[in-house]
């Protein structure tokens, strides 16, 4: 019994702590936090969610998606088109909650279509095909002016609700991180890791690799689409350049690299650190902040390729081991 509880604690022990953290965070708005503080917290939740999603396909399955922002963009544009009432060819003028399910759904459909073609490519071919998809979708959105507003963008209804935004992103983050934690511990997650380590071996073992890859891709696309939709709603304005932002792709990848590829909690830690860092870089040296991020990316690759959690694990530092044994596994090779 004692042994069982230790195994249970190792496997699931991080979840009660995660729940406790979410509970504590949900009390934050009632402590009299200012609007800008709530906004910053909301952005951090958004980035944690995005990075965790990228980690599902990039870290666990080992398919390094260099254009994951395309789903963010699809979600944002679906939301934009569905809620605006400007003189577009198609303007249903829905409310936020009516439009939200569609954003995820359209992102999933797009992911299945594009994944069907790109997921059969391996390694760098997949990465660059996704980068191309990202750039190509941006161009298409720019050209489809009657539906998307083209280069001049779309104005969404201006609604300011910082507390509502905060709770929306908190709940979404809680769901996504828990879901990915659960996937990592389930047979499904083990299959994904098996695909990463040896795809042909996994296939021979009887894992339906196509299904698993598409599934991971679709889940990541769904929540990324929802994130994009939320971002569009919060930002109240979208155009191809702000939605399909190259930096967003880079940041998602960097957050996972910094925290530890393929770990459940790595993207959470990485997103927190990197968001705060880039926020302070942006406000202190605006012109140089992207430059510093590029340099940071190279430093991470050179000196901590396994990320924070991976490095701790490799050095047998077991402090965090207590939290989640399964969270640490050999990073992607």
């Amino acid at each position: 019994m004692k042994k069982f509880s230790r195994i249970w604690l190792r496997k699931w022990g991080a979840f009660p702590l995660w729940g406790l953290l979410i509970l504590l965070l949900s009390a934050y708005p009632s402590t009299g936090a200012s609007g800008i503080e709530l906004f910053t917290a909301t952005q951090i939740f958004l980035w944690v969610t995005l990075a965790s999603n990228w980690n599902l396909i990039g870290g666990m399955t080992g398919y390094l998606d260099f254009g994951h922002g395309v789903f963010f963009g699809i979600g944002a544009y679906t939301m934009g088109i569905l809620v605006t009432n400007t003189s577009l060819a198609f303007a249903p003028n829905l409310s936020f909650w009516q439009a939200l399910p569609w954003t995820g759904l359209i992102a999933v459909i797009f992911a299945l279509l594009i994944g069907w073609a790109t997921l059969r490519l391996k390694g760098p071919y997949f990465s660059i095909a996704m980068l191309s998809t990202f750039a190509a979708t941006r161009e298409l959105i720019r050209i489809l002016r009657p539906v998307t507003g083209g280069g001049s963008g779309l104005d969404l209804p201006p609604v300011l609700n910082r507390v509502g935004d905060y709770y929306f992103m908190l709940v979404l983050m809680a769901i996504v991180v828990s879901l990915i934690g659960w996937i990592r511990r389930s047979k499904l997650g083990l299959s994904l890791v098996a695909i990463r380590e040896d795809e042909i071996g996994a296939e021979m073992r009887g894992i339906n690799t196509t299904f698993h890859k598409l599934f991971a891709f679709a889940v990541a696309a769904f929540f990324t689409g929802i994130c994009g939709a939320f971002w569009a709603w919060q930002n109240t304005y979208i155009d191809p350049d702000v939605v399909f932002l190259q930096n967003r792709n880079i940041l998602m990848i960097m957050m996972c690299m910094l925290g530890g590829l393929g770990t459940v909690w790595g993207p959470v830690i990485g997103a927190l650190i990197l968001y705060l860092l880039q926020d302070s870089l942006w406000s202190n040296l605006a012109d140089y902040h992207l430059l510093s991020l590029g340099i940071l990316l190279i430093l991470i690759i050179l000196f901590i390729p396994y990320g924070i959690l991976g490095t701790l694990k490799n050095n047998k530092i077991s402090l965090l081991d207590l939290l989640s044994r399964r969270g640490f596994d050999t990073p992607h090779r």
Binding site: F66, G123, S132, G294, L297, I301
Partner: protein, 294 residues
């Protein structure tokens, strides 16, 4: 008919530029397996250097080529020697991300130096001449001629010089090359220097007809990838064929599909890329090294 022939000519001229643009990318990939995501940014650097020399010393970009290439050779040499050589034993993600980082750095350094305003190099001889009712823009024809010359030069260099043979040996079998006494690290650094110099040369020769701005690079990188996959890694004739194919496809779409212009270049190259990778993952021609698609 005349419109078709004119589009074909324009496509061929564009294709010649694409072919020389892709050389650096293709050889770097073929010789050491590095997919250089900063390719377009090195091209942009070359274009900015050409603009700078044109603006300050009114040097023609087709002449300042000779000055730009050595400078960029050093940049490429240093990048390979002190950064990428350390990552070669790592999974391919490492070099991919490192060159991604370099592309971010280069684009933003140029944005800080030159601001994001587009620049252009206004050469004095921008007209066109006619042959049999078809018009040939002077600048584009000149670009085409220089592109062919550069390609021929690289081909002869790789085929007949000692260093060129060493580079090919390193591409074919790293360990065997090491055994016969080739300093792989040094050869890699020199190769990278040559590749970056070629890329910057492509940027310099395109500067008269292309708006130069810090974030112009990405489409070039993506097109270079497509052309390399089409033509085979490190293959000079393949680069020529792939470049021509993409150039003609782009111009044909721009000519015959109304209301789109040349903005669809990236979309076309994505479609070509996906079709080729699915139907013929080894590329249309075999290259210096086999593409590892699984």
């Amino acid at each position: 008919m005349n419109q078709f022939l004119q589009a074909l000519i324009n496509g061929l001229l564009l294709g010649g530029f694409y072919a020389v643009m892709v050389l650096g990318f293709s050889v770097l990939w073929g010789v050491m397996g590095v997919i250089n995501l900063a390719h377009g940014e090195f091209l942009m650097t070359g274009a900015y250097l050409a603009w700078l020399l044109f603006n300050t010393f009114s040097l023609d970009p087709f002449i300042s080529l000779v000055l730009i290439m050595p400078v960029m050779f050093i940049l490429g040499f240093v990048m390979q020697k002190y950064l990428l050589n350390r990552l070669l034993e790592r999974p391919s993600l490492a070099t991919l991300l490192a060159t991604f980082g370099i592309s971010v750095i280069l684009a933003n350094v140029h944005k800080i130096i030159y601001s994001a305003d587009p620049r252009n190099v206004a050469v004095p001889y921008s007209g066109s001449f006619e042959v049999m009712g078809l018009s040939f823009p002077i600048v584009k024809t000149l670009i085409f001629a220089i592109a062919l010359a550069i390609m021929a030069g690289l081909y002869l260099f790789l085929q007949y010089t000692r260093l060129g043979k060493a580079i090919r040996a390193a591409a074919q079998n790293k360990n065997a090359a090491r055994i016969v006494g080739i300093d792989i690290e040094q050869v890699y650094a020199i190769t990278a220097g040559i590749c970056i110099a070629l890329t910057a040369a492509a940027g310099a020769i395109i500067s008269p007809i292309q708006a130069i701005y810090p974030f112009m690079g990405q489409p070039f990188t993506l097109k270079a990838f497509t052309i390399t996959v089409l033509g085979g890694l490190g293959q000079i004739p393949g680069a020529l064929l792939g470049g021509m194919f993409l150039g003609i496809a782009e111009v044909m779409v721009a000519t015959y599909v109304p209301g789109i212009g040349i903005n669809l270049g990236v979309v076309i190259s994505l479609l070509v890329l996906i079709v080729v990778l699915i139907l013929r993952p080894q590329g249309l021609l075999s290259g210096l090294r086999k593409m590892q698609t699984d």
